[in-house]
């Protein structure tokens, strides 16, 4: 039976497996099974949570997202502030000339 030559990665794994269980004869196909286990998660679809967490953990994307939220929130706050400030300013003037106005 012709055995194919090991790639450098396979040789490294084989060495690691032998070091992990010194003095124990590894069953045939053990290394191939380990490779299959290592490769398997790559084919499994990633959940939405992992996808989101992965996106959030990218510094540039996270900083940009945060900046957008802060700018939008500040804009909304400014609009609200101008509206409420306009009324506050009017009430302040009217109360200064007619003190009974603030008691209504």
């Amino acid at each position: 039976m012709n055995e194919e030559p090991m790639t450098p990665d396979e040789a490294k794994l084989s060495k690691l497996l032998r070091q992990g269980c010194p003095g124990v004869e590894l069953p045939s196909g053990f290394q191939a099974a380990v490779w299959r286990r290592i490769e398997k998660p790559q084919g499994v679809p990633v959940g939405i949570m992992q996808l989101l967490a992965g996106w959030i953990l990218r510094p540039k994307l996270a900083a940009a997202g945060l900046a957008v939220v802060v700018v939008l929130a500040a804009g909304a706050g400014a609009i609200r502030g101008v509206r409420s400030g306009e009324r506050e300013a009017r009430d302040r003037y009217v109360s200064s000339v007619d003190p009974s106005y603030s008691l209504r």
Binding site: M49, I56, G77, G81, R92, V97
Partner: protein
Amino acid sequence: MNRAARTIILAAVIVLVAGAGAYLCAMRLCARQMAADDLSWLKREFRLSQGEMSRIRQLHDGYLPKCREMCAKIAAKQGEVEKALATGEVVDQKLIELGMLRAQCQAQMLRHFQDVSREMSPEQGKRYLSEMERLTLGFHGEVERSMGETPPSGHGHGKG
């Protein structure tokens, strides 16, 4: 809870806190800027020039001590009325005096509005006068007008 969920929750909290902080800070800053002093609204609303503003500021500063004096007189007279009511005295004369003081106060305020309106352009002055009458004297007018309407109880004045 796995690591991904913890990361998402932490990120959501950070975004929420930063967003709420930005919203509140911007709101307070803008509101404060809009109501910087007693006359800020007047300047913006009636598009006053620097010259108009400085003349109106003088009128305003001159009016405030008179207004405070009138308020003190009304408060003192109100105190007299309450005292008289508590002791069972006849309060008719004091009530008339209180009413007179209130009327004088309103007349003085109206004169001030007219003085201020004359410092503005005719169009803005007219708008200012009508707005101030609505906001100050208009309130009392509304209350008094509502007295003439017949309430559901059937007890009304001025009709029927």
